[in-house]
C-alpha cells in the first residue's frame, strides 16, 4: 500500500510526466498478452487452452 500511495502522490504532483511513464507499462501488458493469445490460437492444442482461458473470464 505504501508504494500505491507513493505513486499516487507522484501522479498528483507531476501531471505532465506520469502518463508517458504509465503508457509504456499499460500498453506493453496488452501487447504481450495479445501476442501470446494469438500464438496459442495457431494450434489446436493452443485453441483448447484459449477456450479455457476465455471461459475463466466469463
Amino acid at each position: 500500500m505504501e508504494q500505491v500511495e507513493k505513486w499516487a502522490r507522484y501522479v498528483k504532483e507531476h501531471p505532465n510526466k506520469w502518463k508517458k511513464e504509465l503508457k509504456l507499462f499499460v500498453d506493453s501488458q496488452i501487447i504481450i498478452a495479445n501476442r501470446f493469445y494469438k500464438k496459442l490460437n495457431e494450434t489446436e492444442e493452443g485453441r483448447k487452452k484459449l477456450v479455457k482461458i476465455m471461459e475463466l473470464k466469463c
Binding site: 500500500m1 500505491v4 500511495e5 505513486w7 499516487a8 502522490r9 501522479v11 498528483k12 501531471p15 505532465n16 506520469w18 502518463k19 508517458k20 504509465l22 503508457k23 507499462f25 499499460v26 500498453d27 501488458q29 496488452i30 501487447i31 498478452a33 495479445n34 493469445y37 494469438k38 490460437n41 476465455m54 473470464k57 466469463c58
Partner: protein, 188 residues
C-alpha cells in the same frame, strides 16, 4: 492533470472508439478498474467494465450491429438475440474486442437495479482526464471498491483515487452510496 493526445494508452483509445458507437444508442458508464487506471493507477488490466442502461432487445440489436460495423466483435456469440436474452438479461456480462484481437476487452452489463440506474443518471465526464468517456462518479467508484469488491487490488484503486481527489471527495456521498450497496447488493 491535463495530458497530450499522444499519451493515450491502448486501453484508452479502445474505450474511446467503443463509447463513440455506444453513446449513439444508449446511456452508458465506465466503472471500476479503468477509472483508476486512467487516473494514473499503475496496474495492468485486460478489460474495461461498462454498464449500459436497460434497453429493449430491438435497440440492443441495433447497438450490436453498429459495433460489428465499426470493427468490433462479441467473444461469446455473434447472435445479438442470444447475447441479449441468453446473457445480458440473465445478468451475465458479454465481452467485445476489436475483430481479430483478443485484447483489450469491453465487458458489458445491463443496469440491473436502482443502484446501477443511479450511477448512470449521475454519470460524469472528466475533461482533464478524458473529454469523451462517461464515468460513474469518483465517489461511487470508491464506495464500490471499499464496500463491495474489496480485493487488495480494489482497495488500492480506491486509495489511489482518494489521493488524486483528496481535496474534492464528498465523504458523505461515499457513505450514502455504501449504505445503498449494503441494502441492494449485500442485503444487509
Amino acid at each position: 492533470m491535463k495530458r497530450e493526445v499522444s499519451d493515450k494508452t491502448i486501453l484508452e483509445q479502445f474505450a474511446e472508439d467503443f463509447v463513440k458507437i455506444v453513446e449513439k444508442h444508449c446511456k452508458y458508464i465506465i466503472v471500476s478498474g479503468f477509472v483508476a487506471i486512467i487516473h494514473g493507477r499503475s496496474r495492468g488490466t485486460e478489460d474495461i467494465d461498462m454498464i449500459i442502461e436497460k434497453i429493449p432487445k430491438e435497440k440492443f440489436i441495433e447497438l450490436h450491429n453498429a459495433l460489428i460495423k465499426a470493427g468490433f466483435e462479441c467473444m461469446q456469440t455473434n447472435n445479438p438475440e442470444e447475447i441479449y436474452s441468453g446473457y445480458l438479461m440473465n445478468s451475465t456480462s458479454v465481452r467485445y474486442t476489436r475483430k481479430g484481437e483478443f485484447l483489450p476487452e469491453m465487458e458489458i452489463k445491463l443496469a440491473k437495479d436502482e443502484l446501477d440506474e443511479m450511477q448512470i443518471n449521475t454519470r460524469i465526464k472528466i475533461p482533464d482526464i478524458n473529454p469523451i468517456i462517461y464515468f460513474s462518479s469518483i465517489e461511487t467508484n470508491i464506495a464500490f471498491k471499499e464496500e463491495y469488491l474489496r480485493s487488495d487490488k480494489d482497495i488500492e484503486d480506491a486509495k489511489h483515487l482518494r489521493i488524486i481527489y483528496e481535496d474534492e471527495i464528498d465523504e458523505h456521498k461515499i457513505n450514502e452510496i455504501k449504505k445503498q450497496i449494503r441494502r441492494l447488493r449485500m442485503k444487509k
